[in-house]
Symmetry: D3
Subunit: 238 residues, 6 copies
């Protein structure tokens, strides 16, 4: 039995609130159970130096966690003077995931930065970040379209993410913190609304896993991401 | 007339929500109009090296701002690799302000860290931080008292803060962003519930100010802080 | 047809030379075609602070690339003042991959650091690093066993890695630089000698991929890693 | 009685020596008792990027302290790799104080940097820095005027600073180190030669202070700054 | 007797292998006994900002050491976040030594960077670096000449380096690690093929040395550098 | 003819003032012509970690330059966030030079730090620093002896330094800034009062130099250092 008494293929309660930032061109407050991430999308009408003059835009992401989002206080990265390897790995993953469904040429010479700041952390902060970032991005794209700043349809698909793992021998969907700590295998899946893969990261925390186990996790992920995609669509339809 | 149509001695709407963090020993979400700050208080049962063995505790603060709390995106300090001079100045001010009403010996060998993270910025982020931090601190002290971790009454008074300034020639209370940009003189006042001063920082942004002008600002501050102290008390009484 | 005229399921020429460092407790010079990585394993009889007194050891990795390992010179990370996000991501991957086949309790309170320094880069530096690091690690473990510094069998299995990708629509094994730049999907597989998965990282560089495509890449990886495991065994048998 | 046997409203001996630097466009060596600060003013005919093309200049300050200016050696900030929060706070204060009496448009597109380096520290280093910096600035402005580099009168007034505090219950003028350590309240005042306020920073070190106490400190400051302004004028008349 | 049983005026075995890097415009793998340094020369058709438009080029060097080039593992400088003082001192020396024999005007507006990475360290890494860097540089210059990128003869002479020291009271040539640790005086000599001095750095490690001792070391250096120059010439003639 | 009209073997005017710091255990203000360096010696009764428990002390140095010691303002190293390679090279040289005449065992477990801060720079700052540092060190040692903190005679000799160079074809003593910029060869000599060498650093700035030229520079250095040693002795005798 899972600590949260969920079924093995049951997501936590997910909520997505749009337009929570007064200033940003797009924003979303997303929660996966007790995990809560505030995402803002900022549009800038310039691109990084290495892209200038190439007639295309860029989408990038930054990730942060408030010091007391966790059970004991973590040192603030601004005080430490650098972002940890974990932070950089996560923000690179978020950026890649969103770029996979964006037509960068249609963006024109503009950059959208997704800031994902974790207010509360209970496992799955990177998957909640990606799922919420898609919603904030979609709103920022609408904002640009309303001002005729784009050069065609920017979004080719939607994108969402979920983690699965093998907890006490059983494959389960959407690990929370208690499960994550104990899971032998942990895998993050990023998929599009049309059901294709954008990113798979499977890691054996203690014991290597078999191809059958991976297949089981993939099946759970397909189910979970199907549900998340529907929730994104519903949120954006409001 | 003020941009917000407020009276010269009128505060913005202030709300204080307690217990907003699932993990922290104390927390508050405070808003001064459109300015919104999330404060958490974290209790650690150890003290900085230079205090060890002296039989007293410590209260400190850190301040941060989400990149898109402002009209245009600011660079994340963790990416820049250091906290700005402004950030350090503000967090030193918050820490000093709280220590002024704390009996550090009564705390025992414990440290309370107040993290003030600005979710939305519309002027007055440091004064909202101090005012909210007192509420989070009070809850953290209650948490310690419930576990008999203190050695006597820790809080000697309450503390709150407000900014005043001379806007288009008139002294006004609680500057918002539009006023702050234009004000000739800007002063931050930190005062206790009993009406004494903890900190005064008055700055001539463009033209030096007279003692009469300072007196007028002080009068406004006393009114505003009286109201804030009452709101803190009400919030803590719930 | 691949730029190197290899078959779709053909690895580049792989060589593994042991004992190339005069000082290190274990070492290997590994080449995957024109990619060349020097790996040293350093044994230290102490562990990081957070592990002290827990009766177990640690295995960690660091990754570097000589400035002119690539076609145009890269800035030296020691000059830049920090390791890039890419470097940190790779060295975290190498460390995790090796720990998956190590019994940390059997190591006792010792740490083995694998330094993977890329002398020439032509694609697949992280997979060559992992494959070579296993050989250097195995020699370092033998060195410890000869001195009775271990508390039982340290290695539970062997580990190797290979990248696969979809190049011009066709799944191919062991991408070189020219293929890597152009591939739509790029996946790194880390597997044990017994054929279980330690890590899977699949990334859609431009277009999302289907489950069938992933299955094809996995099949190629199983073949390639089978060959690499045999070569590791042969090298260690000399 | 004060440790230095001064009257409560008595400044330490103050000396101001002009033209002490061979290279700088303006310079002053100022002492407040045993506190000794070397100030140089450097004129550059360019402005920071954010001011370019706006037809105005800039005045800024940097503050440093020699490692052995104090009773025990302090770590050199260049070795520590960053300026402390205290240093940044002080140099921001010095810069603001000078800009308050400068007509930046009359400066033209030029920048004057005031470097305040503390050779000996015995309390009041920031107030001595501001007071000396005005003299160095005035000489640098004369240097510019002699070369017709200005566009009108640059200095609108003079500026000086002093600290006051409540020492053993009594308000006193110009705290030295022994008094500063023990004072319950410490306030820095920056005022113009015409008697207006540029900056007030009052801090309760241990116990909050009343409005009456603040008024007493303000009275002392007005007296002290009157004396300092006269000394600045005398030094510049030589 | 020397630990290596060499005569007092006997160099270690020296080998120089050219063209070891697949990508660099020039390269050399040089060994002085067990010391082994990989040098690459990278040609860039731009110069540092401060040289732009002056019609001349630049030659610079960077130095690094693999973490396990030494008996116990050294911390990687990229992890430490900065190059040590020793590293900076060495790379400045290498750059100066090469510039002394280069006609920078004949180079045109191009920069050649010599990367000297120590694979194995057994004393004399800086002298081996300089000696090998000359060979890599010569090959890079040939590469430029073949493309008509130079404006005349670039190399005015050759350059090589060796260390000498007083070991157990006797002046000896080409110190290895065991001798270096114990030597009372350690001197590095950089000389041209024509026998002139480019750099002399003599250091009394424990006891000051006399002019006679310095003369003896200089005599040994002249012999050693004569041999090294001949080996460079032979290597370049192949 | 030299720009300063000095004879080729003539030092600039040298002055040494002792006891200029109120706080330091030893101090000296030394000038070589227009070059002016303030040196303080700080005694600490602890040693760096790597020396602890070895029954010996340590002598180290730090070097800094005020931003406007030079003709145009230099960036403050504390603002840049690190010490330049030049600064580190110089402070390592100063430390080594002093340790060469100190009996570290006689110091006991204490550390003396020499801070050399350049107030005005006109060439020869490192040689003035070493020469002044010896005087400050000698006073700090006397301070320790007066408190019976030493375990025997600490100073085995005195030490001083001077630079020589080939200016317009002629070897000259004690280069000032104008000469230094133009000199083809620049050499720094550190010698003891008894006439032995501690350090020689000769550098060909543009053209390699011959052994005869080096001999001529050495002769000048011996004369100059003889004079400096006499001045040190006289200063310490006062």
């Amino acid at each position: 039995m899972r600590p949260s008494r969920r079924q093995t293929d049951q997501m936590r309660d997910v909520t997505i609130e749009r337009g929570v930032s007064l200033k940003a061109e797009g924003s979303a407050l997303i929660s996966f159970g007790a995990t809560k991430v505030l995402v803002t999308a900022s549009v800038e009408t310039s691109v990084p130096g290495w892209l200038r003059g190439k007639g295309q835009g860029w989408v990038t992401a930054e990730y942060g966690m408030l010091p007391r989002a966790t059970g004991s206080r973590n040192r603030r990265e601004a005080t430490a003077g650098k972002q940890s390897g974990r932070t950089q790995e996560i923000q690179r993953l978020i950026g890649r995931s969103l770029r996979a469904i964006v037509d960068l040429k249609a963006l024109g010479e503009a950059q959208i930065t997704l800031d994902c700041d974790v207010l509360e952390a209970d496992g799955g902060t990177r998957t909640a970040s990606i799922t919420g970032a898609y919603v904030a991005l979609a709103d920022a794209v609408k904002w640009m379209e309303a001002r005729q700043l784009t050069k065609g349809p920017v979004l080719r698909d939607s994108v969402a993410a979920v983690s699965c793992g093998i907890y006490r021998g059983t494959p389960v969907l959407d690990l929370d913190y208690l499960e994550d700590v104990e899971a032998h295998t942990d895998a993050n899946f990023v998929m599009t609304g049309l059901g294709k893969f954008v990113e798979i990261q499977g890691t054996a925390e203690q014991a290597p896993f078999s191809r059958d186990e991976l297949d089981a996790l993939m099946g759970l992920a397909e189910k979970g991401i199907g549900e998340l995609s529907a929730m994104q669509e519903a949120a954006l339809a409001k």
